[in-house]
């Protein structure tokens, strides 16, 4: 048992170091973070341009603020799903190392936890940079003094738990889909972009999508963070209980699916099946 515990701690540490090296060894650290943070930042810029060019008389700056907070938080989700998916795809298709990882005593989910840990600093950097620059250049109306800081930090961190579970689920899908596992991250992120209330209000969606959105922890997570940051959004109570309930259910379901998919991949021989054309 002592060996197992040691493996988990060592596993996370060495996989985190490995993940860091793989993600950062191609350029200097500044360029790496620039590239990693560029997507949400660019989306925020694009939204801002769209707002300025296409908005009608009913639109207000708070619509843009609303969307930009969603983009910032979506940055965590995007970064995590990408890293989890690419960890599997990379080990299977490019490094051809996946069988060594699977057969190591450290469980795969422990390895992935460390290997993909870069999503946290990347997401945080996105969050801070995008909000700061947007607030300064577009006058979003964000006031540091009015932020409920303790709640914001607490719920930001609590939100990481369903994000990690989502990452595991994406990794599981990546294990069983040949060739298009790279698209899984984009697919998942895209769907969440649409239905998690990040840049689209859930009441604008068709009923079925609205119901799915309400069942996701991310929808409530993003709402809570908006609530803590902008007094303007404190008209309705923050959805704390919805967040906790949906998070628990979501984490249970996605983790179960991850193990099921891993088992399926083993049985069907897909684990080290490299297939590109």
């Amino acid at each position: 048992m002592a060996i197992r515990n040691n493996n988990i701690a060592n596993g996370i540490k060495s996989s985190a170091l490995l993940g860091w090296r793989i993600e950062t060894n191609w350029a200097n650290i500044f360029i790496v973070f620039l590239v990693k943070c560029s997507k949400p930042f660019s989306v925020a810029l694009l939204l801002s341009a769209m707002y300025m060019i296409t908005s009608g008389p009913e639109a207000t700056i708070y619509d843009l603020s609303w969307a930009i907070i969603g983009v910032c938080l979506w940055g965590f989700i995007q970064s995590a799903t990408e890293l989890y998916s690419y960890a599997i795809v990379g080990e299977r298709e490019w490094f051809r190392n996946i069988k060594n990882i699977i057969t190591a005593p450290t469980p795969l989910h422990v390895y992935l936890l460390g290997r993909t840990s870069l999503w946290v600093p990347v997401g945080l950097l996105n969050f801070i940079v995008i909000l700061s620059i947007s607030n300064y250049s577009l006058n979003l109306g964000l006031d540091i003094n009015s932020i409920e800081k303790v709640k914001m930090v607490l719920f930001l961190l609590l939100g990481f738990i369903p994000v990690v579970s989502l990452g595991m689920f994406v990794a599981g899908i990546s294990l069983v889909i040949p060739r298009f596992s790279e698209g899984v991250a984009f697919g998942v992120t895209g769907v969440l972009y649409l239905i998690s209330g990040s840049i689209i209000k859930t009441n604008m969606l068709p009923t079925i999508l609205k119901n799915i959105s309400e069942a996701l922890p991310f929808t409530h997570w993003i709402e809570i963070i908006r609530y803590t940051m902008f007094p303007y959004f404190r008209i309705n109570p923050a959805p704390y209980s919805e967040f906790f309930i949906t998070s628990i259910i979501f984490c249970l379901v996605t983790n179960y699916l991850y193990f099921y998919l891993l088992n399926y991949a083993r049985k069907s021989g897909k684990i080290d099946l490299a297939s590109m054309y």
Binding site: K39, E93, F180, G183
Partner: protein, 269 residues
């Protein structure tokens, strides 16, 4: 004899891509659903910003064309990287076939998939948002669409040689261009109506002209633009040939450089 060898090489290399469409039909689901998701997202963003309804038509057209850029450019540029990692590039280089022909084959095979995908996305998005396009102008749309796709593929071919030199870092830099391309090509809003400098800059990418041309011929109502779609199609044809020429030259130069430095056959470089 050279022409027949070129033709055979193109057919042979297009074959895996075409056959994959039928053997792994799951690609279709991904390649259609992801662009569709983007279109749906941005249409709702336009609604969030209370935008006029014709912007939704513009967004649908832009959303159908954007994946062409990403598929073509990324797939063409990155395919050679995968070929290198799997050892195929050694076999290509030691065969008497020119690497340009092999990339042309990828272009033909990929083009088949791209046209199928874009058409499907357009059809579904049109139905979803009840957009009325001027389908009677389908022949004009083809005159714009085909040179756009071909010129993009040629750019992808030229970029693949940059990959041979640049290696893995290039993949990341390419990723940086995604949103700027969305902006400068006016994928989700008309760029030409905003600023002439931006418009000219955006026109350096054939996709901008392609999207603008398609909006002119397919969308009802008034549409402000700087250039008639016929001229845009002509410019894209010129881009196509220039890019092909450049691709051939740069591929040969890169191969020579790679043979001198040894990076061609070293994996993970």
């Amino acid at each position: 004899m050279i022409l027949s060898h070129a033709f055979r090489t193109i057919i042979a290399r297009a074959y895996p891509r075409i056959i994959a469409s039928f053997r792994h039909p799951s690609w279709f689901l991904f390649e259609v659903s992801l662009p569709l998701l983007s279109i749906v997202t941005f249409v709702y963003v336009l609604r969030l910003f209370d935008s006029p309804s014709q912007f939704e038509s513009y967004a649908v057209i832009g959303g159908c064309m954007l994946p062409v850029w990403f598929n073509v450019v990324f797939a063409m540029a990155l395919q050679l990287r995968w070929e290198k990692d799997s050892g195929n590039i050694e076999i290509f280089m030691t065969s008497p076939a020119q690497i340009t022909w092999i990339l042309l084959g990828m272009m033909v095979g990929g083009g088949f998939q791209t046209i199928l995908m874009s058409g499907t996305v357009l059809f579904i998005a049109t139905y979803m948002f009840e957009i009325k396009f001027l389908w009677s102008n389908w022949h004009q749309a083809l005159i714009v669409f085909i040179p756009c796709v071909m010129s993009l593929y040629s750019i992808g071919m030229a970029m693949s040689s940059v990959f041979l030199k640049a290696g893995r870092a290039f993949e990341y830099y390419l990723g940086l261009t995604e949103e700027p391309v969305q902006f400068f090509t006016g994928s989700y809003f008309p760029i030409f109506s905003q600023n002439i400098v931006l418009a000219i800059f955006g026109s350096l990418i054939p996709l901008t002209l392609g999207i603008d041309g398609l909006r002119q011929v397919l969308v009802e109502g008034e549409y402000f633009t700087l250039l008639n779609w016929r001229y845009e199609a002509l410019i894209m044809v010129i881009y196509w040939f220039i890019a092909l020429k450049f691709a051939k030259f740069s591929l040969e130069w890169m191969e020579k450089l790679a043979r001198e430095k040894g990076t061609l056959t070293l994996r993970w470089q």
